[in-house]
Structure formats: structure tokens, C-alpha cells
């Protein structure tokens, strides 16, 4: 099951919906891993939307299975990218050409959604034209408030900053500009007293 219901949280924490087809001259979809399943649901509901879509897909751990299904769903263009970072130049190029009313669909992990959302907003696309749906891993992208390094795919709380090595706890405070949650040193007041990491949302 690739869906997860996030517990209620503070106002800066993003919330995700369910992708719904919207008529537009231009349809852009970006997804990673199980995010493909959200695109497939969308295609099943509205094949004509998928037929117009330019899809950028980053399979990550999910391999080839979902790539084949996406291709069967019949998008106008399907681009499979080995990583989000590798897809960014292409994404920017497409966004530079978007027409009025273009619809953007983002699906998959919070890290993918947050970063692609940021690119989209920076290109001047209004928030109202962007939909997002979380699927798959609940891992978080976290910025260390101390060294500013970003650690991808954080699965536990606390965790060790991949840049400076401090033990960080993950706050729900979220920056759209950084597409990241905030990580803060957990043992600043009791150096060395670091609780056992527990998996997020467990």
C-alpha cells in the first residue's frame, strides 16, 4: 500500500491531496517511485489528460515495473530520469515554456514533491495550478539548521546529519523555499545523551 495518512501537524507542514484531472492545453507530471501509481490512477480516470502529458519519472527503488505501466498509460512524452537532480535542467526547460493555465501534477515522496514544487513556483506558475499527492516512502528531506547541509531520505528521529555529524531531531517546521524540514541538535543541553533513533511515524 503506497498511501499514508500523515498525523495532524503545525501550519507550516505541507499537506497533500489526491491528484484530480484538470482540462488544460499543457499537462506536466513529475513523480518518483510509487508516485507513478498516483499518475496511473489519474490516467485511468482521464486518459485524455495523460495523452497530453509530459511525464518526468524517477523510478528510484521501484525499478522497471512501473515504467512499463506508465508507458502503457500513453503519455505524450515519458522521460525516465535516474535521479531528481538529473531531471532538474529538463524540468526548468519545460517550465520556461509553460502556457497560461498549464496544470502541474507532482506525486511521490515529500522530497520530490517539495523540490519540484519549488522549481514550479520559481518559474512563476501559480500555486492553484499545482497538485500534489504523497505516495510511497515517508522519508523526509531535512536541513541541518547548524551547518545548513541537507540530508535526503531521513527515516529516523533522531538521525545523524550527513554533513556535520551532529545528532538532529526532526521538527515539523517546513520551508518551501528549501523544500526541507528543520533538523536541530538533540543533545545540545546534555551532550552525548542521544535517544535511540525510532522510525518516523512509528
Amino acid at each position: 500500500m503506497s498511501r499514508f495518512t500523515f498525523p495532524p501537524s503545525i501550519p507550516s507542514r505541507p499537506v497533500y491531496g489526491t491528484l484530480a484531472p484538470r482540462e488544460a492545453a499543457q499537462q506536466l507530471m513529475v513523480a518518483d517511485a510509487e508516485g507513478a501509481e498516483a499518475l496511473l490512477d489519474l490516467a485511468a480516470a482521464a486518459p485524455e489528460v495523460m495523452a497530453k502529458a509530459h511525464v518526468i519519472y524517477i523510478p528510484r527503488h521501484s525499478g522497471e515495473a512501473l515504467v512499463a505501466k506508465l508507458r502503457e498509460a500513453g503519455p505524450a512524452i515519458l522521460h525516465v530520469s535516474p535521479s531528481y537532480l538529473a531531471s532538474v535542467p529538463r524540468l526548468r526547460r519545460i517550465l520556461s515554456d509553460t502556457v497560461m493555465g498549464a496544470q502541474i501534477y507532482l506525486a511521490g515522496t515529500e522530497g520530490l514533491i517539495g523540490q519540484a514544487m519549488n522549481e514550479t513556483l520559481q518559474a512563476g506558475i501559480p500555486m492553484a495550478a499545482i497538485q500534489s499527492e504523497h505516495r510511497g516512502s515517508v522519508a523526509r528531506r531535512v536541513q541541518c539548521v547548524h551547518c545548513k547541509g541537507i540530508t535526503e531520505d531521513v527515516m529516523t528521529d533522531p538521525f545523524v546529519c550527513s554533513h556535520c555529524g551532529l545528532n538532529l531531531f526532526v521538527r515539523d517546521h517546513y520551508s518551501r523555499r528549501l523544500a526541507a524540514f528543520q533538523g536541530v541538535c538533540i543533545d545540545a543541553e546534555d551532550p552525548g545523551e542521544v535517544p535511540e533513533p525510532v522510525e518516523l511515524y512509528r
Binding site: 503545525i10 501550519p11 507550516s12 507542514r13 536541513q143 539548521v145 547548524h146 545548513k148 551532529l166 521538527r171 515539523d172 517546521h173 517546513y174 520551508s175 518551501r176 523555499r177 528549501l178 528543520q182 536541530v184 541538535c185 545540545a188 543541553e189 546534555d190 551532550p191
Partner: protein
């Protein structure tokens, strides 16, 4: 009056001290014996002579040393001062507001001479005499916001107003109560306040935002906010929390009066004329508990406020672990006598401590 500027530090050896003058004019934030969030706004149109409310931008004995501390913070971490590209005009608005206010309110310390767009700014305490072209970035050594806020005590957040919201799109933040400009820049009013407990549910932020959106040019507003800080450390940033957090463990019953400080923010809000942005100066005042309790009314009241503060607020304000020791100390200065309403020290009318 002529201000005698202190030569003092807010780090390492912590030589910061308040004079008797500074103690008596301290902005004590509690108008009654208890505390809960509220939209405690009032017009910022002066105040009693000598009080921190009197001038638009209060200058006190800590001015030079605070500006030196700011320069140290910025050298270590330039991300404490940031401005998104569309906020440059608001930066010039702010520069004008501070230069005009300070030169009018403190003519013996600051001078502003304007001939068209050729401006000459003289800051005597800091030894600055600069001539520049108003609205020409290249004529200043820093961007306009950074230039002027390196010469003004307190943090400054520049808020863009659009979509019926306020957006923290620029700021100079080096004396903050544990929040990060670098993380929060670009957020709207509800997002940057997201970590504050209770206040969202109480509707405080909705009402505060409504008030702030309607602030007009020439009608600034103000409020006080507070927290507690161990040692007179101005830079209680999340960025450096892994370095200063451990200082909270250094309190003992013997040193607490000297080391534990009440930290008060005088927050003011001004509409800016060209950009329609709001500037939100957050001026930090620190006072050691041993100095604060020399005012009997404040000693009694602070004890009662800290004692009765809900646990989640004490946690959010970062002193939950030290609350028992703080209360042991403060209880010596609470004899149970009633206190007069209002924040003023009332030294002539309140009874001396009977204990």
C-alpha cells in the same frame, strides 16, 4: 541626556551590565501577576520621558557594544542578513525611516543632511560619516537594509504584503529568541509562527495578522514579548544552539541571580511608504534576575508569572529544566503582597519587600 556607552560583551566573558538607569527603564513585560498570549498591541506614539517607548528607535548604553556583537555574528554567518530580490525598495524605505527618526530623536548623536538625492549620514557613536545617493545601491558599502541595520539595535524583519498575508522576505536577525531567518525567509505569517504552541488554536495569529495588515503610514504599533536566557547572550540562534544550549546547565543556586536573564522584546511595526511593506523591528532587552528584583513590584510579579505559567509555554520558551531553580530564587522576593496594575516599577508607591 547624554548616554554613557558601555564597553561590554554578550559572549565569552559576558561583561554586559545594566546601569541603574537601564534597570529602572527596563521594559518589564507583565502588566499583571499572570501571563497568557494575547494580541497586546498598542499605538507606538512615544511614552514617558526616559522610557524605552519614548523614541521611535530607542538608543541606550548598549548601542556600540551591540553593534560590535552584530558584526561578529555576521562575519561568522552572513546568512543572518538576507533579502529576497523584490525587497530592495523596502530596504531603502527602512534606511530612510531609521535615519530620519534617529536624527530627529537624537540630534546630538545622529545627523542627516539631504540635498535632493545626495544624502550625508553622520553616526557619531559609531564614527560613521558617509555620503551617498538615495536609492543607488552602488553608493553604499552594503545593501540599504544591511547598511542601516548594522547601525540600529534589535533585529529587523521586512514583511511584504500580498494575498492578504505578510511574507517574511528580508531581515537582519542576530539577536533572536531561537528562530532562523535563513529557514523562515519566504514564509507567510502563519508558517513562520507554526512552531508556537497554543496561539494558533486561540486565534491569536488570525487577529494579529488582521491588525497588522491594516497598519497605516505614520501610525506604528508596538507590543512586548518575552523569554528567559542564561547569560546575557544576544545571539540565541538555532544556528548556534549546539554551542549555547549547554549553558543552560551551568545555573546553580549561587550564580542564578547573575546568570539567569529575563529577555524582553520590544516589537514595533511600521508601514513603509514606497514598498507598502511592513518593517518589524524586534529589540531585545536583557536584565539579570538580581537586578530585576531590586524593583520590589517586579520581583513579586515575576515569581508569580513564572510559577503559574503552563508547562507547554515554559517548554517552548526554553526554561522548563531550570524553572524549579528559578522559582526557588524568585520566591525570596515574593512576600505575597498585592502588586499595582501596569508594567511600571512604581518605586515610590509599592511597599518594600518584607521578608
Amino acid at each position: 541626556m547624554t548616554i554613557q556607552f558601555n564597553d561590554e560583551t554578550f559572549r565569552d566573558d559576558y561583561t554586559f551590565r545594566n546601569s541603574d538607569w537601564a534597570i529602572k527603564r527596563f521594559p518589564f513585560p507583565f502588566h499583571e501577576d499572570s501571563y497568557m498570549y494575547s494580541v497586546n498591541m498598542e499605538q507606538h506614539r512615544g511614552g514617558p520621558e526616559g522610557s524605552v517607548f519614548e523614541k521611535r528607535f530607542d538608543v541606550d548604553e548598549h548601542y556600540i557594544s551591540e553593534m560590535r556583537d552584530r558584526a561578529l555574528v555576521l562575519a561568522e554567518d552572513p546568512l543572518r542578513c538576507q533579502s529576497l530580490p523584490h525587497m530592495n525598495l523596502a530596504g531603502w524605505d527602512l534606511l530612510e525611516l531609521i535615519m530620519v527618526s534617529k536624527s530627529e530623536d537624537y540630534p546630538d548623536l545622529f545627523e542627516l543632511h539631504r540635498k535632493g538625492d545626495k544624502w550625508r549620514w553622520i553616526n557619531k557613536p559609531l564614527g560613521i560619516d558617509d555620503t551617498f545617493t538615495f536609492m543607488d545601491d552602488a553608493s553604499l558599502p552594503y545593501g540599504p537594509m544591511e547598511y542601516i541595520t548594522r547601525q540600529a539595535q534589535g533585529d529587523f524583519a521586512l514583511l511584504d504584503q500580498r494575498e492578504n498575508n505578510l511574507w517574511m522576505d528580508a531581515g537582519m536577525v542576530t539577536t533572536q529568541a531561537d528562530w532562523s531567518l535563513d529557514f523562515d525567509i519566504g514564509m507567510n505569517f502563519f508558517e513562520w509562527h507554526a512552531p508556537v504552541p497554543r496561539a494558533h488554536e486561540m486565534g491569536v495569529f488570525k487577529r494579529a495578522l488582521k491588525f497588522l495588515l491594516n497598519i497605516q503610514q505614520g501610525s506604528p504599533a508596538r507590543r512586548l514579548n518575552w523569554t528567559m536566557t542564561v547569560n546575557p547572550l544576544l545571539d540565541t540562534s538555532p544556528e548556534n544552539y549546539h554551542k549555547w544550549g549547554v549553558q543552560k546547565t551551568t545555573l546553580t543556586p549561587e550564580n542564578i541571580g547573575r546568570k539567569q536573564h529575563l529577555r524582553v522584546e520590544l516589537q514595533t511595526f511600521y508601514r513603509l511608504p514606497r514598498s507598502n511593506a511592513l518593517v518589524f523591528p524586534i529589540r531585545c532587552y536583557l536584565i539579570a534576575l538580581e537586578d530585576l528584583v531590586t524593583v520590589p513590584k517586579w520581583g513579586r510579579r515575576l515569581h508569580r508569572v513564572i510559577r503559574d505559567l503552563p508547562e507547554d509555554l515554559a517548554t517552548y520558551k526554553g526554561f522548563i529544566r531550570n524553572r524549579p531553580m528559578i522559582l526557588d530564587y524568585l520566591s525570596q522576593y515574593d512576600d505575597g503582597k498585592p502588586t499595582a496594575p501596569g508594567i511600571w516599577p512604581d518605586l515610590d508607591t509599592e511597599p518594600p519587600l518584607e521578608k
